[in-house]
Subunit: 185 residues, 2 copies
């Protein structure tokens, strides 16, 4: 059997370019994981340290607000901490993929865990967003009053802490896309 | 170049078994899509038709509850309808995969869209669950009262409508796993 040397050269070139592209995807993967890690960490810390005491009080009301007054916010913090921890643990495997760019199994593991984590993070963020919305706007039909009229700084922090989580969600979705494309190549 | 006929036979056998396994995955994919479709459709309809008027009233309160009194429930219905529509549209492609079990690109498209849809559905379901929890338990710190004490049937329906959505989320996560495994084979 005879092989055309030009064909062989072309195939070698194409393998090398695929290899380079896969390495590029792996580097992007690690970079995105770091961004999502920072986002979820910031969200968790920001929400977990939210507390406000108003400088006045009456006989009937306690003018103090803390994030764990609402169980939803506790769940939000837990979800962010879990995803943040997962991203930190997944980083070594992601860096390992840069070196060994053909590791298919590790990418499948990434898709599976990333999907579970994006669901957990979305659950936490959406539930917290629903309560933040209620805190801002209230609901006259259900007789739930907007607590943000009193707790200004509290509401600003809980609203702000959602941003990091939503950045984390977007990045995790992007990571799943990247893994899927990398596997198929 | 000589080829061992026994080796050739083995390779043919293994290709046929891989083909069969891929077809099995595709059939399971279509089946799961139908389950998720039914779940999200039921959730959307159940929530979208929830309404309760109590048989008594006072001068100050309107004892009527409808799902769209709370914007979160409207979002829940929209999310379920969108995911339900997507699942219906994706079914022909999924059935096409049973016939052409080597279609890699369609599986990548599935991973990408399934991921977006599971995020949307989780967002809707988690936000609605947060409000349903509040309706059941209330929150004394924020002075939000449990409306379920009055609106019993309303609360039962909004709680029940979450089930289909959460089944849909679980099935969509499973579908992403299946697609990832099918691509890698």
């Amino acid at each position: 059997m005879k092989t055309n040397p030009i064909e062989l050269g072309l195939s070698k070139n194409s393998t090398s370019s695929t290899h380079k592209r896969k390495r590029g995807v792996s580097i992007l993967d690690s970079f995105l994981r770091i961004i999502a890690f920072i986002g979820t960490l910031a969200s968790g810390i920001l929400m977990g340290t939210t507390k406000e005491t108003l400088p006045f009080s009456t006989q009937f009301f306690r003018f103090r607000a803390e994030f764990d007054d609402l169980p939803t916010f506790t769940f939000f913090v837990v979800a962010n901490v879990v995803v943040c921890g997962y991203l930190l643990l997944s980083l070594p495997l992601s860096i390992f993929n840069i070196v060994r760019s053909n590791a298919k199994n590790s990418r499948i593991i990434f898709i599976i865990f990333d999907t579970v984590m994006v669901t957990l993070l979305t659950g936490g963020a959406a539930a917290a967003a629903a309560i933040v919305y209620l805190a801002h706007k209230g609901n006259t039909r259900a007789n739930w009053f907007a607590i943000c009229q009193q707790f200004n700084s509290f509401c600003e922090r809980i609203s702000g802490s959602l941003i990091g989580s939503f950045v984390g969600i977007a990045v995790l979705i992007l990571l799943i896309f990247l893994s899927a494309v990398a596997i198929s190549r």
